[in-house]
């Protein structure tokens, strides 16, 4: 059991609680930076994939986890970021400029979507973004001069300050690139949550009416949230394109959108850790399933037939279990475990119990 003494007002808004916590994260960061030396190329690639999903999850977390606007269409913004990045690189823009600009363009796309979406709440917003994600497929096909249509595009290595960063040729460089983006986005996110803007995001999430009463400009807050969320998602999309190498209109389909939303729910809505934990589940579930299928096949002598849809089926079951039994996601579970240890032996059963709530409608007829 640790006791944190507060001796300074800055302690309340410092990104880390104490030196112990900071050192833990530093050790984690060092271990991840050193990953190319203790992981083989296959698992390094998987880890890169997890990090890319985590960045996309962070993007969606800003909007859904902290501003409370559920989006089922973030794959559309992944696509925008990916194609913007490729188009700029093909136009001869160096990667170090093309990449941030791709995020910026996606952010602008997000604002254009946010303006009509401002009036929508709850399920209507979810359906709006879902339709957007479905439409994106057709838009990509129609915008063939930029996107290559059904044939798609191909992006090999990119050049950064004389180094060729390629998913296949130099996986460790690509890994470090993704890691750098992930760390920068995470730091920015942590910082965002300490600013008045970040606080107003949370206020809007918890109650729009009371946020407005406290002087928060709801439309402005939501629009900025959309912009930031989409920009981060656009970066993730650009990296996803580089990771996949080749992509076309079907790469960023509706299922990716849904998967992204489910990922942050499993990880834990409203926490930065949640995006990473959810990404780990998404990233390693297919591997885990194929390994366990082989194991089951070996033990019971059954053939290892491919079961179509198994991944999504298992994923759905995990998600249902989480929503029913641990609505705060994996991070919420971890918080409880940690609190149990920190407070030992004073943990009480109902410490995280939620208040009973009753739903009210906004319909009047």
């Amino acid at each position: 059991m640790r006791i944190v003494f507060k001796t300074d007002y800055m302690q309340d808004i410092r990104p880390w609680k104490d030196g112990y916590q900071l050192s833990l994260y530093m050790i984690l960061l060092a271990a991840v930076i050193a990953a190319p030396w203790w992981l083989d190329d296959f698992y390094l690639g998987e880890l890169t994939n997890v990090l890319i999903w985590a960045i996309a999850g962070l993007g969606l977390m800003i909007l859904t986890g902290h501003t409370g606007q559920a989006s089922l269409g973030h794959a559309a913004f992944l696509a925008v970021g990916c194609y913007a990045n490729v188009a700029l690189i093909e136009a001869g823009v160096p990667f170090l400029i093309a990449f941030p600009v791709a995020g910026l363009l996606t952010g602008i796309a997000g604002v254009t979507v946010a303006i009509p979406a401002l009036r929508l709440h709850g399920i209507y917003l979810a359906i709006f973004t879902l339709a957007l994600s479905v439409l994106m497929d057709d838009i990509i096909v129609l915008a063939e001069p930029i996107t290559g249509g059904v044939a798609g595009k191909y992006l090999g290595g990119v050049d950064i300050l004389g180094l060729t960063v390629d998913r296949w040729g130099t996986p460790e460089l690509f890994f470090w690139l993704v890691l750098a983006v992930a760390v920068l986005v995470t730091l920015g996110y942590i910082n965002l949550l300490r600013t008045p803007l970040g606080r107003s995001f949370i206020a809007v999430r918890d109650s729009e009416v009371s946020a407005q009463a406290m002087g928060v400009d709801i439309s402005r807050t939501k629009t900025i949230s959309f912009a930031l969320s989409c920009a981060v998602t656009g970066w993730a999309g650009a990296l996803m394109g580089m990771y996949a190498g080749a992509f076309n209109n079907e790469t960023f389909n509706v299922l990716i959108s849904i998967q992204l939303l489910m990922m942050i729910v499993i990880g834990g809505l409203g926490s930065i850790h949640g995006a990473f934990l959810g990404a780990i589940v998404i990233g390693f579930l297919p591997q885990f399933l194929s390994i366990s299928k082989e194991y089951v096949g070996a033990v019971f002598g059954g053939s290892t037939v491919a079961i179509p849809g198994l991944e999504f089926g298992i994923f759905g079951i995990i998600l249902i279990a989480f929503i029913l039994f641990e609505p705060m996601g994996m991070y919420g579970r971890w918080l409880k475990i940690r609190t149990w240890f920190e407070l030992f032996p004073f943990y009480r059963k109902d410490m995280f119990k939620r208040q009973k709530s009753y739903l009210k409608t906004e319909r009047l007829r």
């Binding site: 089926g313 249902i320 929503i323 906004e362």
Partner: protein, 291 residues
């Protein structure tokens, strides 16, 4: 004549969208949640009936299989509420949305395991017959779909607006706590409405499978039914049917008269337009919230 033919086939398709949308609206009206798995419920209803009727499975007579499969769907809907949705009682809409999406994945997976991934058609007494009506050729299935849908919408509308139970359901949705004070057993009402939604999905599935073929991904049709429900406004039963018909009619005309590539966008573009200009549907039921 060509256009009339397009119109009829569009109406029949639209009725199926309308039926799925009815399921959305039913659950929305009574629990303020949206069942994103309604399309998959429909697919399940179709497969249950196929499993009972088709000769390669159980081979029961069609008219006997019909009530059995609707009963199964009712029990299924009730169990979904009893075992899963009821635990989320009072939670936000978004939690239920995500939960039902996940449920859709599971239903699709299980249906794929049981019935395989090939398209199936329901063997039914109406198949292959048609009515000739002054140069128009109407499939008997299409006529059946339209008639059944209109009847069902009308009876549900009456049920919600005239009967005690229907009014209780609306009350339970609008303010759960107040409904409790008025003596409405909110949870039991919720269970009933999910059973009813299961039955409606079953009917939609049977009609759909009689008209065309189903496979486990058919449930994704639900996305188009969203367009229907949104156009009609989520709280209105006739609105859902009207929305379904609009979407259904627009589709064949768009693919006939608009260049390929743009035509399949039409229903979604309409959906977005309605959401932008009339955020709560053409038959709106929401006003600005006052504190």
């Amino acid at each position: 004549m060509d256009n009339a033919q397009l119109l009829i086939s569009g109406l029949a398709n639209g009725c199926v969208y309308g039926l799925i949308a009815l399921g959305f609206v039913l659950i929305y009206k009574a629990t303020e949640a949206v069942n994103f798995a309604q399309g998959d419920f429909m697919m399940l209803g179709a497969f249950v009936t196929i499993g009972l009727t088709n000769t390669e499975y159980m081979g029961l007579p069609f008219w006997l299989a019909l009530p059995i499969s609707l009963g199964i769907m009712a029990v299924f809907g009730y169990l979904v509420d009893r075992l899963i949705i009821r635990r989320l009682f009072g939670e936000s809409q978004t939690a239920v949305v995500i939960l039902t999406i996940a449920m859709g994945f599971v239903i699709r997976f299980v249906a794929g395991l049981i019935w395989g991934h090939e398209p199936h058609t329901l063997q039914n007494p109406l198949a292959g017959k048609d009515i000739r009506f002054g140069g128009l050729v109407l499939g008997l299935e299409d006529v059946a779909v339209i008639v059944v849908t209109v009847l069902l919408t009308w009876s549900l509308y009456v049920f919600f607006n005239k009967t005690k139970l229907g009014l209780a359901m609306q009350g339970a949705s609008q303010n759960q706590l107040a409904a409790y004070y008025m003596g409405i057993p909110v949870k039991r009402v919720q269970g009933l409405i999910w059973a009813l939604a299961g039955v409606v999905a079953g009917i939609a599935g049977i009609l759909f499978a009689a008209k065309g073929s189903v496979d486990p991904t058919t449930g994704l049709l639900g996305i188009k039914a969203f367009a229907a429900a949104v156009i009609g406004g989520f709280g209105s039963l006739p609105g859902a049917l009207a929305g379904g018909l609009i979407v259904g009619v627009i589709e064949p005309f768009a693919s006939r008269y608009i260049a390929a590539g743009y035509s399949q966008i039409a229903p979604y573009a309409l959906l977005l337009a309605v959401l932008i200009f009339r955020p709560h549907g053409l038959f709106s039921q929401v006003r600005i919230k006052k504190v």
